[in-house]
């Protein structure tokens, strides 16, 4: 316990991942699901930066990939919020179960 | 009790607890001691305080430089793996310290040896951090208090009034303390329909990021709590977190006006962070570092070496940054989230007491942070406008160091310049009307954003051209620098001149107003 290494960070990331998945499963609000996705992406980023720090062959690469993931996450959030707003315009709610029907 | 009859049940007088009573007593004591002195010698006290602070800072620098040199560096040099997190120096006993000093040579005089023993706790990083945090927290507290007081004074003068005059004596110097005591003692109301936990926690979301920003903000070459290589981005980031508090406050109030205020804040903040960031990239491109100390030290040497005057793009970027930063800390004319006339104070409509005060602390502290950032990035940081060569002529003696610290660089210069920019913010607030939300967004997306993009491109090309070996480019750069510097000088002297004129003719300017009969004017 007195030695902080790669494993500790990866376990934290795993818990973040599990929490993100759980959020995605148990939320019916579209934005809640989005929050779950952000958690999952963050767990991936923690993994990447941890590998960057602890594995010699991942130097720089991990951080670059993490940067790209952050950019992608921002883009994804912008689009997803746009979709949520459209959903709200069309269905007057952001409950994803309402959006499950195929009929327009 | 009261001689008025009121239709509701009057509240029983609240009996204050011991801490509150202590605070009140302390405040009264302070006022009792300071008031006669301030009333008698306002000018000498002010100037003396400034000089004392300067000398104190200089003495602090000397002492800590000595500590670093004698106590930290020598033992650490033989410790193979010293890292910031390493606790290797935590438990160093005086005996061991003495032994190490003996090993190091022990050429120090008796006074030096005494000093070493007196200062031995200071060697521990954790102790030093504690002291530094305390100082930082004090600074963080004192800045908003006096900026608020100053704002009220400036507002008064602009509106041909005198502002607070009573509390404490000389120009109401204790007004903000009194307000603070009042606000702390006021009832903390939480509306019934509000989202309680969020409502309570929201002010802390605004104030903690500002405090964190102070941690990475250098006030001098060595006066920084943590020197980060990405300090600029870090400060931008934490100031960006500040807005969450405002939004959460607006949302949790469960009040239409508050939600409107919060939405305006979110909209405005997210928009203006982009031009602000791009304007800040201009000095980064010019200097090639995100480290604020590197950026400030690259401008050492005098007025004409300041970044704003070295490069036309940086000059415009400075102005763009200043405008965008006004918007990002919701100062007038961009104070839409708290527009009193439309939204009845917007996001903090429902707040009262201490939590309300926290919002204002955060606002005035972040005003100072953005002003200091502008100073560090564009206006030479802690370097004075005097040419550095004059200082070099003084030599390196102890007195010369003090003199140089006073005149040529040091935190006092940064503070003076930052306070001046804060003053400009206040000045703008009391002279400009608030603009509409569509104008706010128009100004961002269609004016500032393209402008800052062009500035970044231009600055890049400028830097690129400066690396070429073309002879006349240096001539052109010099000419541009001189022109820009002269423009700045004209503004500075014009400002001082107008201020002096106004001060000299202050009675004539306001005509036959009550100012003539009020005390202290």
């Amino acid at each position: 316990m007195m030695s902080i290494g790669l494993t500790e960070y990866l376990v934290v990331a795993a818990v973040l991942f599990g929490a993100g998945i759980f959020t995605m499963i148990t939320k019916r609000n579209a934005i809640g699901i989005l929050i779950g996705v952000e958690l999952v992406l963050n767990s991936a980023n923690v993994n990447l930066v941890a590998f960057d720090r602890y594995l010699e062959r991942c130097r720089i690469d991990g951080q670059i990939l993490a940067l790209v993931v952050i950019v992608l996450a921002a883009a994804e959030a912008a689009i997803a919020v746009g979709i949520c707003i459209n959903l709200y315009k069309n269905l007057a709610t952001v409950d994803v179960d309402t959006a499950a029907k195929l009929r327009g | 009790m009261s001689q008025f009859s009121v239709p509701w049940q009057p509240k029983q007088p609240y009996s204050y607890g011991a801490p509150a009573r202590a605070v009140i007593a302390l405040a009264r004591l302070t006022a009792d001691i300071a008031t006669p002195l301030l009333r008698r010698f306002p000018g000498p006290i002010l100037i003396g305080a400034i000089v004392t602070v300067c000398l104190g800072v200089w003495a602090h620098a000397l002492v800590f430089g000595y500590v670093d040199q004698r106590l930290l560096t020598q033992p650490v040099a033989d410790a193979a793996a010293f890292s910031y997190f390493s606790p290797s120096t935590w438990g160093l006993s005086p005996t061991l310290l003495h032994a190490r000093l003996e090993m190091a040579g022990g050429q120090g005089a008796a006074l030096a040896g005494l000093l070493q023993y007196l200062l031995w706790p200071v060697q521990f990083q954790i102790v030093r951090d504690g002291i530094a945090l305390g100082a930082l927290f004090g600074l963080f507290n004192i800045i908003p208090v006096y900026v608020i007081w100053w704002e009220r004074k400036v507002a008064g003068r602009i509106q041909s009034r005198v502002g607070p005059m009573r509390v404490g004596g000389w120009h109401g110097w204790a007004q903000s303390f009194a307000d603070g005591i009042k606000l702390v003692l006021k009832e903390d109301l939480v509306p019934k329909e509000a989202d309680g936990p969020l409502f309570r926690i929201a002010p802390y979301f605004t104030i903690i990021p500002t405090l964190v920003a102070f941690m990475a903000l250098p006030l001098g070459a060595t006066y920084v709590f943590r020197e980060l290589d990405v300090a600029l981005v870090f400060i931008l980031g934490v100031l960006g977190v500040e807005v969450v508090g405002v939004i959460v406050a607006g949302w949790a109030s469960n009040n239409k006006w508050s939600v409107y205020g919060a939405m305006r804040e979110a909209c405005q903040m997210v928009s203006y962070e982009i031009p602000m960031g791009m304007a800040l990239l201009v000095p980064v491109v010019c200097v090639g570092s995100l480290n604020l100390r590197t950026i400030a030290e690259s401008q050492a040497g005098g007025w004409f070496d300041w970044l704003a005057f070295s490069n036309p793009f940086a000059f415009v970027a400075f102005i763009s940054y200043f405008i965008a930063s006004l918007a990002s800390c919701k100062r007038a004319p961009f104070d839409l989230p708290e527009a009193e006339s439309e939204l009845v104070a917007g996001f903090h409509t429902e707040y009262s007491g201490f939590r309300w005060a926290l919002f204002f602390f955060a606002e005035y502290a972040s005003m100072f942070v953005i002003a200091a950032l502008a100073v560090i990035l564009f206006l030479g940081g802690w370097n004075s406008p005097l040419p550095g060569s004059w200082g070099d002529a003084l030599g390196d003696g102890l007195a010369a160091q003090g003199f140089k610290g006073l005149l040529f660089s040091g935190p006092i210069w940064l503070m003076l310049k930052s306070i001046f920019l804060v003053y400009v913010q206040i000045w703008l607030r009391w002279t400009l009307p608030r603009i509409r939300i569509d104008q706010v967004l128009y100004a961002c997306v269609q004016v500032l954003l393209p402008l800052t993009m062009l500035l970044l491109l231009g600055a890049t090309l400028w830097v690129w051209a400066s690396t070429s070996d073309v002879g006349w480019w240096a001539v052109l750069t010099t000419i541009v620098t001189i022109i820009l510097g002269l423009i700045g000088l004209v503004f500075a002297f014009g400002f001082v001149g107008i201020a002096a004129y106004g001060f000299y003719h202050r009675r004539r300017l306001v005509g036959n107003l009550v100012i003539d009969v009020l005390p202290g004017s």
């Binding site: 998945i21 499963i25 148990t26 699901i33 994803v96 499950a100 029907k101 | 070996d469 073309v470």
Partner: protein
């Protein structure tokens, strides 16, 4: 000044119109009607013109002091990206060709911009109630940016990028009045025709990329020569097509681009239609930018051309110059007449390039740019003045109403006709440039292969000093150099060219004669155009009364008229003659200087003085005789030569043929396909259906009820069961899907983990070295 200084100046000159473009795009509507135009003039071309002047003066000094070659060699190349193993470099190609072209483009375009301000002042610029005024100048600025970028590019890749930008700008500008059908059709036609040519260019570019392994012009030329010496790569004998080596294909491919942009013979159809754009645009396209780009391209890639490719170029140029000149005779639209004359003159330039008259062709490009810009602006003045009347038959006698336009136009006519007094050295424009092309062609046709011919070749033996600036007094310069300057003296076959050009054939004589004949046609149609417009009696009262001149518009005319005089007299020719040595690394350049005194020059001179020395007088005289008294005589001649006239009026039916072959051909193929679909495919379908139906009806009673039904129902029920199981997961709710996929992932992870544990080598780290 160092070479970096020149590069920075040129790069700033390229970027300035780009900045102007963005300013006009963003702030154009706010700048308002005249201001936006002046911003375009000042920033779009004024700044580049100043820079170009500075560079030109400086560069002349460098050439005079002999520093030019060193500066060219020291040019900076920035490695922008690696395309595989081929670096894509950015840089300024710093030589006399660039400097001269840069100055020409900026000078002409500047005055066209100035003219545009006046021109657009009187024109409607609104579409749907919105002003497009700023957009016009934004497009012009972008056009300037593209063309200047094209000129300074050191790499074929960037040349191609700017090339395409030029095409785009021409599309935008030709279709400026896009709400009018004919303008947008013309724009599309120009764009598509250019795409055809660019396809060839792209093929050539790919060959350069794959075979020469570089995109830098200098390196490409060097490798070209190396590959020739080694007989490998593009010169390998197994790579041939129609008997052409791959190098020839590459050269022709690159030339295809020039064919599209410079509107050479099969792809010339877009240029007359491009008159649909505003007149300044026509001037810009015809004089300074678009069509010059093609000639410039050929000049740039001249070192990558084989003799076969050059012969192909000469053939195309010859056909263009002849056929288009003939069409110009019968045009009645003033702008179209000028357009066809442009085509013909471009034919001369390309023909000159094909003959090896590299210097003369570029010289002709410059002189032509000046007087053609002036002619077009003059025609714009006329059209503007005559209330948008373009038919010359309705004009006449305008000299009184617009004297400046009339006489500047006349100077242009003199220049394009090659007017001059032989043997004295007084002449205008084409008199020097076009006749030099003809002289080179004459040499290539008649003197080629004669034993004594090469006696006149100074520095024979392949030395690098074979070609010197023409004003240095060299008589005839015909240099044949191969790759090996270093060992140039090792092979000096007497009386024959060396290296790649030892098999260069003589120019077919009919090509030369066609060019000579066209030299007579040119003065005729130009004089006809001028006379019909300005002289004689007014033929349309309404037009005549409306005619007037605009001050802003005739200042450029006067400036360009002066420029025509100046440019004719060997101002630019030495510059290109200086650029020529760089072009002869692997190619052949011939130049003929009138002041020299050798036998071959005498031959050429004596022939040309007799042959075309007074062609302008003949042409003018014929035109004068026919059109002296109005159009009656012309009408009679037309009736006599009706079939020929019809052929020419219909432009040899090119549009019709293209319509017939390509458009109608496509429709025909589609129709045939439809017929096949209807009668063959559908028939087969119907037949199959019929047979199936009968078979099913026959077998259904026996097989269907028991076996097939049973099987089908069984399968259906299985499917139903499976889908019932699968459907329970298909809730349409995203969170259920996440749940399932997470569960599955977990299970898979567990299984893999289990197997790995079984295998006994659980996920050991791969990068660390094994212990022990």
């Amino acid at each position: 000044m160092t070479s970096h200084t020149y590069e920075i100046l040129l790069a700033l000159g390229v970027l300035s119109p780009f900045v102007s473009f963005w300013i006009l795009v963003f702030f154009g509507p706010r700048l308002g009607k005249p201001t936006a135009g002046w911003v375009g003039v000042a920033l779009g071309m004024g700044v580049p013109l100043v820079l170009a002047t500075v560079v030109l003066i400086g560069w002349r000094g460098e050439v005079a002091s002999g520093n030019a070659a060193e500066l060219t060699a020291n040019a900076f190349r920035y490695e922008w990206a690696m395309l595989g193993t081929v670096p894509a470099t950015v840089g300024v190609k710093l030589d006399s060709l660039t400097v001269g072209m840069f100055f020409m483009v900026t000078f002409i375009a500047f005055w066209i911009f100035v003219f545009s301000v006046g021109y657009m002042a009187g024109h409607s610029d609104e579409v749907g109630g919105k002003s497009k005024y700023h957009r016009f100048f934004a497009y012009l600025s972008l056009f300037g940016f593209s063309m200047l970028g094209l000129v300074v590019s050191s790499s074929l890749l960037f040349l191609f990028i700017f090339w395409e930008l030029v095409g785009l700008c021409s599309y935008l500008l030709i279709g400026f009045y896009f709400d009018k059908g004919f303008a947008s059709a013309a724009a599309i036609k120009a764009f598509i025709t250019n795409r055809v040519g660019d396809f060839g260019f792209l093929i050539g570019l790919m060959l350069v990329y794959f075979q020469l392994g570089t995109l830098d012009l200098d390196v490409a030329a060097q490798r070209f020569a190396e590959q020739y010496a080694a007989g490998t790569g593009i010169f390998a004998s197994h790579f041939t097509l129609f008997g052409w080596s791959l190098a020839t294909i590459m050269g022709i491919g690159l030339f295809c681009g020039a064919m599209g942009k410079s509107a050479q013979f099969p792809l010339h159809v877009w240029l007359p239609d491009a008159m649909a754009g505003p007149t300044p645009v026509s001037a810009l396209i015809h004089a300074a930018t678009m069509v010059a780009a093609g000639v410039y391209l050929v000049a740039r890639v001249f070192r990558l051309m084989t003799p076969e490719a050059l012969m192909f170029i000469a053939l195309i140029g010859c056909l263009t110059l002849t056929l288009m000149a003939l069409i110009a005779i019968v045009q009645v639209d003033i702008k179209k007449c000028l357009a066809y004359s442009t085509l013909s003159q471009l034919g001369y330039m390309i023909f000159g390039m094909g003959c090896g008259a590299w210097i003369a062709a570029l010289f002709h490009l410059i002189t032509h740019a000046f007087f053609k810009a002036m002619l077009f602006l003059g025609s714009g003045q006329v059209i503007e003045g005559c209330h948008h009347e373009q038919d010359m038959r309705k004009m006449g006698g305008l000299r009184k109403k617009m004297p400046y336009t009339c006489w500047t136009f006349f100077i242009g006519v003199l220049a394009i006709a090659g007017t001059g007094i032989p043997a004295i050295g007084i002449g205008l424009g084409g008199y020097f440039s076009k006749d030099e092309i003809l002289a080179v062609a004459y040499t290539r046709s008649y003197e080629w292969g004669k034993d004594d011919f090469h006696k006149h070749v100074p520095g024979e033996g392949g030395g690098h000093g074979a070609v010197e600036p023409a004003d240095g007094g060299q008589a005839m310069l015909a240099s044949y150099q191969d790759h090996g300057q270093a060992h140039g003296d090792d092979h000096a076959p007497a009386g024959g060219a060396q290296g790649i050009f030892e098999n260069t054939p003589a120019l077919p004589k009919w090509m030369f004669w066609l060019a000579i004949i066209t030299a007579y046609v040119t003065p005729f149609y130009m004089m006809r155009c001028w006379w019909m417009t300005f002289m004689g009696k007014p033929r349309d009262k309404h037009v005549y009364e409306h005619a007037h001149e605009s001050r802003l518009m005739f200042i450029p005319l006067v400036v360009l008229a002066v420029g025509t005089f100046v440019s004719s007299y060997f101002l630019f020719r030495p510059l290109f003659a200086d650029a020529a040595p760089a072009a002869t690394d692997a190619a052949m350049v011939m130049a003929i200087d009138g002041t020299a005194d050798t036998e071959a020059v005498h031959h050429a001179h004596s022939f040309l003085i007799g042959g075309v020395g007074f062609a302008f007088a003949v042409g003018f005289a014929i035109a004068f005789l026919i059109y002296r008294n109005g159009l009656d005589l012309a009408e009679r001649i037309r009736r006599v030569l009706a079939p020929l006239h019809t052929l020419l009026v219909h432009k040899y039916y090119f549009d019709e043929v293209y319509d017939l072959v390509w458009v109608k051909g496509c429709i025909l193929v589609a129709k045939i396909a439809r017929l096949i679909d209807t009668y063959v495919v559908d028939f087969l379908f119907d037949l199959a259906a019929f047979v199936t139906e009968r078979l099913a009806a026959f077998s259904g009673l026996i097989l269907d009820n028991q076996g097939v039904d049973g099987m089908v129902n069984g399968v259906a029920k299985t499917t139903m069961d499976v889908s019932d199981v699968a459907r329970s997961g298909q809730t349409g709710r995203i969170r259920n899907y996440v749940l399932f996929s997470t569960a599955m992932a977990t299970v898979v992870m567990l299984v893999l983990f289990w197997w790995a544990m079984q295998a006994g080598n659980f996920m050991t780290a791969t990068s660390a070295p094994p212990v022990g």
